[in-house]
Every structure is written in C-alpha cells, then in structure tokens.
C-alpha cells in the first residue's frame, strides 16, 4: 500500500516539475488566471437578483435563448415538449387576490440547503463551496430522485442520445442536468450568459457575501423574496417585484 502511494507521489511530483518546464519550452502557453487554478472557496457565495419589474417579456425570452445557445440544450430531436430539457423557463403568474400578473425566469435556485443534494444516493448532486449547485454527471446514475425532490421543477433528464455538444458543456443521455450558473464562465471571471443578455439592472449577478458587490448592496436596499421561502432553503437566486 505505502509503496504504491510513494510511487504515485513520485509520479505526481515529477509531473509538476516537468509541467513547469513544459510551459516554458513548448509552443503552447498555459494561460492561467489566478481564479482558474485555485479551488473555489466558501468565502464567496454566487447569487443572482432578478427584478421582475425591470424585465420585459422579451428580456426573459432572451435569457432563455442565450442559455440554450450557451449550453447547447433545447434542440433535441426525439424528445417531446415535456421531455426536453428546461434549464431556464419563463413563468407567468397571476395574484389570486389582486389579479396582478408577473413574469419571471425560473431556473435552479442554487439553494444553500439543496434538497436534491440531500437525496442523491451517489453524491452526484453536489454544491460547490461557492454555493453553486451542480450535477457531477460522472457520478449520476439517472435515478431521478433529485428531480422528485426539487421544489422548483428545475432539473431535466436527458431522454435521448446527443451529439455535437458544446465543448464546455458535456451533456449525455441518461443523466440529470440543470442550470450551472454558467460556472465555466464564472470561474474565468465572467458572468452567466442569461445575466449578460439583459442590459438593464433586471438581473444582477454577483457575490452575495461581498459587502461591496452590487448584488449585496442592492439586496440591502430593496425588498426581495425567495421562491418558496417557507421551505427555508436559502436560495442563491432572489427575486424582487413579485
């Protein structure tokens, strides 16, 4: 046992050293942002504030469309409407008392206490340190218990074989998927595609913990809600205007 470990460690350290040399000597440049090669930490918590008063219906449609474009879902050929993935959808609600109509984009709410993570038998549903809830599709066996548990109906199951996926977003038959808060962008210092698609302040993305961030400051000023706040899941996606 210890022999093997030593061997591995040896290999690792040689890799590390030669990797350094490789970077300099070879033609490829390993451009690395500081953010890219250090693990995410719980000093941040990514979140999003969606102000429905500032969003038009076409804003929301745009958000859905860019998400499809960015992550490559929605063009499945065999799946029926209810079988197609739905990472983000437009929901229209009417207040039963006042008749007020609101429209909002719905996606994974990135709960602090995610029910999907609690129920997943194989640890495939997971929450990163920075609060992003993901499916580790390498571990997902497709049992769909997380979809039963999600209070927001935000997860989708891939019902058919896929090809020509986006390079940064591997997807495949028989596993569950949902909004990743575009971690592939966020980890490189970007913001989610849907937030970028809205030019107004209708969608603010940022670090909920950072007192200087726009999202933190706005949340301190205005009134906001979480969907199904009664479940005490402490979602990362907040809404105002509904």
């Amino acid at each position: 046992m210890s022999k093997k470990l030593n061997r591995r460690d040896f290999i690792k350290s040689t890799t590390a050293v030669t990797a350094g040399v490789a970077t300099i000597s070879s033609g490829i440049t390993l451009t690395t942002f500081a953010a890219e090669d250090s693990p995410v930490t719980n000093e941040k918590r990514w979140g999003m504030l969606i102000d429905t008063n500032k969003l038009t219906e076409s804003n929301i449609d745009d958000m859905v469309n860019v998400c499809q474009e960015e992550n490559g879902w929605g063009s499945e050929t065999h799946s029926t409407g209810a079988q197609k993935p739905d990472w983000i959808k437009k929901v229209k609600v009417r207040d039963k008392t006042t008749g007020k109509i609101d429209m909002l984009p719905m996606m994974c709410q990135h709960c602090e206490q995610p029910p999907c993570v609690d129920v997943c038998p194989t640890n495939a549903s997971m929450k990163r340190e920075d609060g992003v809830v993901l499916v580790d599709k390498h571990l997902c066996i497709g049992c769909r218990y997380c979809m039963m548990a999600c209070p927001y109906g935000s997860r989708s199951f891939v019902h058919e074989d896929l090809s020509n996926q986006k390079e940064h977003m591997p997807r495949g038959k028989g596993t569950v998927e949902s909004c990743t808060l575009c971690v592939h962008r966020v980890d490189k210092g970007g913001i989610p595609a849907c937030a970028e698609a809205v030019s107004s302040d209708g969608v603010i993305f940022g670090d909920l913990y950072d007192a200087n961030s726009k999202i933190n400051q706005t949340l301190k000023k205005i009134q906001s809600t979480q969907i199904r706040a009664d479940l005490n899941l402490n979602t990362g996606i907040r809404y105002s205007g509904i």
Binding site: A22, S26, L30, D37, M126, E129, H138, Q165, P170
Partner: protein
C-alpha cells in the same frame, strides 16, 4: 482507493503491451505537427507515463474541475481532443471513431470509454 485500483489496472495492462505500441499510431493533426517540429517533448513529460497514467490524470482533473472549479488546460479532456484530432475532407473526425487517437489503443485492450457520450468528440464548435 479507487484511483489506486485504476492505476494498478492501467499499469498491469499497459506493462504488457506498452512496448509493442504501434509505431504508426494516429496522433492527430496538431500533435503530429508538433512532433514533427520536435516540439513534443514538453507536452507529455514522458511517453510511457502518459500511456500508462492518462486515465488517472483525466479522472483527477475531472474532479478538480467539477468540484473545485479549477479550469487549467493541463490534462483537460478538451485539450486532448483539440490536439489529437484528425481532419478529413475539411471536417474533423470524431476522436473516438475507429482508428482515431482515443480508440486505437482501447480497441486493442478491449476498453470502451463512455466519456464521449457527453464530451464533444471534435475540437471547438465548427472548423
């Protein structure tokens, strides 16, 4: 423990056949180019190591990316595909197609990968 097992398996399988690797293995366009230019030395520290250890490297990298958000290019599956793909009639050939880089050896040792049911089999979008 699981990793050790994989390393162990990889070692046992490869140690038998690694020495008999086909000299004309299809490296793919960019890799061949780099090799011909003599620039291949630094990419994989040692050939025998990448032959034996690549499953372990990939799985390690996989966990780092998915769980910790580490997105460096080293050992990234995207990069393997980028560098080791072949073109034919101005189109990329899927890297897991028969006789392509990620399938030749595996065919020989009878391993089949499920990685490419999700991961893109050709570099980037469009050529």
């Amino acid at each position: 423990m699981k990793r050790l097992l994989i390393v162990f398996l990889a070692l046992t399988v490869t140690s038998v056949f690694a020495y008999g690797v086909d000299k004309h293995i299809n490296l793919g366009d960019r890799a061949t180019e780099l090799k011909n230019e003599g620039k291949s030395r630094g990419i994989h520290p040692s050939l025998s190591e990448i032959r034996k250890m690549h499953p372990e490297f990939l799985l390690h990298k996989r966990d780092k990316t998915v769980h910790q958000g580490i997105r460096t290019r080293r050992n990234s599956l995207k990069e393997c595909v980028d560098c080791h793909s072949t073109t034919k009639n101005d189109e990329y050939v899927p890297i897991n197609a028969p006789e392509q880089f990620c399938s030749t050896c595996h065919q020989k040792v009878g391993t089949s990968l499920d990685c490419f049911s999700c991961h893109r089999t050709t570099p980037k979008e469009d050529l």
